[in-house]
Amino acid sequence: MFEVADLSYELGDFSLGPINLQLHDKDYCVILGPSGAGKSQLLYLLAGLVKPGVGRILYQHQAIRQPADYAKWVGLLFQQYALFPHLSVWDNVVYGLKARKIFTNANRKKAVEWMKQLNVMHLSNRRINGLSGGEQQRIALARTLVLEPRILLLDEPLAAVDAPFRRELRTVLKRIHQKGMLVIHVTHDYEEALALATQVAIMEQGQVTATGSPEKVFSRLNTGFVARLLGEVNIFEVMHTAAEQGVWTWKEKHTGWELKSLPFSSNGFGKILVRTRDVLLAEEPFSSSVQNMLKGTVEAYLPASGGVHVSVDAGLKFHLLLSEKAAESLRIKPGKTVYVAFKASAVQPIG
């Protein structure tokens, strides 16, 4: 169990906390928040690089106080990797082992194993300058993982990586997590959260405003940031049930409602998203090429940048964005019966 209790920090005008978190050893916690929310600063506090004003960090019910304790339990992957440019790749990877005076033959083998697993062994003698972002990322991961931390902190690990590498690295991160490591991953990208998290913490202006499972956190418009996220997407957990004439049918896990999509690479279950801009709203059912049409009730509408944010309960909760003019002409108000519709091509996989 990893616990953060009333952790606070102040620097000039910026204040962080009090932060409270309780995570289990096998959690993958994504701390999601906009830029400037204090996410990285929180990671630095959790890594012991910054001294908190007040509060405690506990691992297995014991307070972590000394830098040596932090280094023993916690590994941090920096956003810009922070690889040492004057050392070779190998010297970077084994730096921590040498620093802790545990550069034994057994640990040397572990370093080689991690480098092989992360596909950087062939770069062993190279200098850092000139390596690609993806290579640097994997070297930094190897450098952290060879020390076998119990808690792995990741600061926007996928932010500086190209799209093809991102998917590969997500797989690597999932694999690392499956080895039984508590991962705390900071990002502003909700897709990362959805693809990886077992726990989500929403962070805004130095405060954790929501915590819980991704389903729980994203099902509620309880913070401005989540509302903004959901202003962009509708997310559903689904199972594939049928394929017919180039159209796939999915069953929503909790309600059993059926959704149709075009075929895409999938193992038969997972999460899908429908962007709000792809969802149409009508007062009456209409005949068209759209494959998905559901009857529902307007639950709420809120002014949003670029129009009005409308929530519709159609068995499934839908969020969509209307222009003020469209909302006016449809006489949108809570309780009104409406139809939401979207094309099969608007359904996209996540992760």
Partner: protein, 264 residues
């Protein structure tokens, strides 16, 4: 880009090249003049003059030892100034720069107040049979006083320019503060530190005002040039000056070339 854009760009480059050329000429002309006016038989006899070569070697040795010894104190100070925020930091930075603005003869007089036998430090040394005044160690003090800002400032800027994350990463990997300093900060800032050491060494070699007050003898090269100029005239001083310049030039080219590649 239109033809007139090209013309404007060319005019800009020409004006800047002309101004830069004048400045380089300003530095090169006096040295070139020395070359042209030096009679080479005199140069050969200067090279054979034991007092001259001894003086140059003494100057180089004192400047080098001073730079290395002062570096032991200056580099930690530079690191503190770059990485720590503390009350009075502005004052400390101002104090570091002070020797640059003090007239160097005044610096020599100020140093006498701690090195002469009437002072506390000088008195203690005197009681042990050691005299700072008129001794290479005294000359080293004079050189250090006027040249240390060059090392501290260059090293401080070098440390400050390093992304803090390198050191944070090393700490997070379990390195002690000492290890972080000597395996990460020091090697990464070494180019700036070496540049500062070269500048300090150079400033030490060229120092006259403070040195001549602390020690006329043993004669460092700047004092010897002054002495030969006063006693025998320009024709006797010029070959020594030229020799000092040539030796310095060779040393600086060597030091700069071993500065190594820049990592960040």
């Amino acid at each position: 880009m239109t033809t007139s854009d090209y013309s404007r760009k060319r005019a800009f480059t020409l004006v800047f090249t002309f101004l830069a050329g004048l400045l380089i000429l300003f530095i090169v002309a006096p040295i070139g003049g020395m070359f042209l006016h030096t009679q080479w038989p005199q140069m050969a006899s200067t090279l054979a003059d034991g007092e001259v070569t001894g003086s140059i070697i003494l100057t180089l040795m004192i400047a080098m030892m001073t730079t290395l010894i002062v570096g032991i104190f200056a580099i930690p100070l530079a690191y503190l100034l770059a990485r720590h925020h503390f009350y009075g930091k502005i004052l400390v930075n101002a104090i570091i720069d002070l020797p640059i603005v003090i007239p160097h003869a005044a610096a020599g007089i100020a140093l006498l107040s701690i090195l002469s036998k009437q002072s506390l430090l000088g008195g203690v040394a005197e009681s042990l049979g050691f005299h700072f005044v008129g001794h290479p160690v005294g000359i080293g003090f004079a050189m250090a006083f006027v040249s240390v800002p060059f090392l501290v400032n260059a090293a401080r800027d070098g440390f400050a320019s390093l992304p803090l994350q390198y050191e944070q990463a090393a700490v997070s990997l379990g390195a002690s503060r000492w290890r972080v300093f000597y395996t990460i900060a020091l090697p990464l800032a070494r180019r700036s530190i070496l540049s500062g050491m070269v500048m300090m060494f150079a400033r030490g070699i060229s120092e006259f005002g403070a040195v001549v007050i602390i020690a006329y003898y043993p004669m460092v090269s700047s004092v010897l040039i002054f002495e030969r100029f006063g006693a025998y005239g320009l024709n006797y001083a010029r070959p020594i000056a030229l020799l000092v310049i040539l030796v310095s030039l060779v040393i600086f080219i060597l030091l700069r070339s071993i500065g190594g590649r820049r990592y960040v």
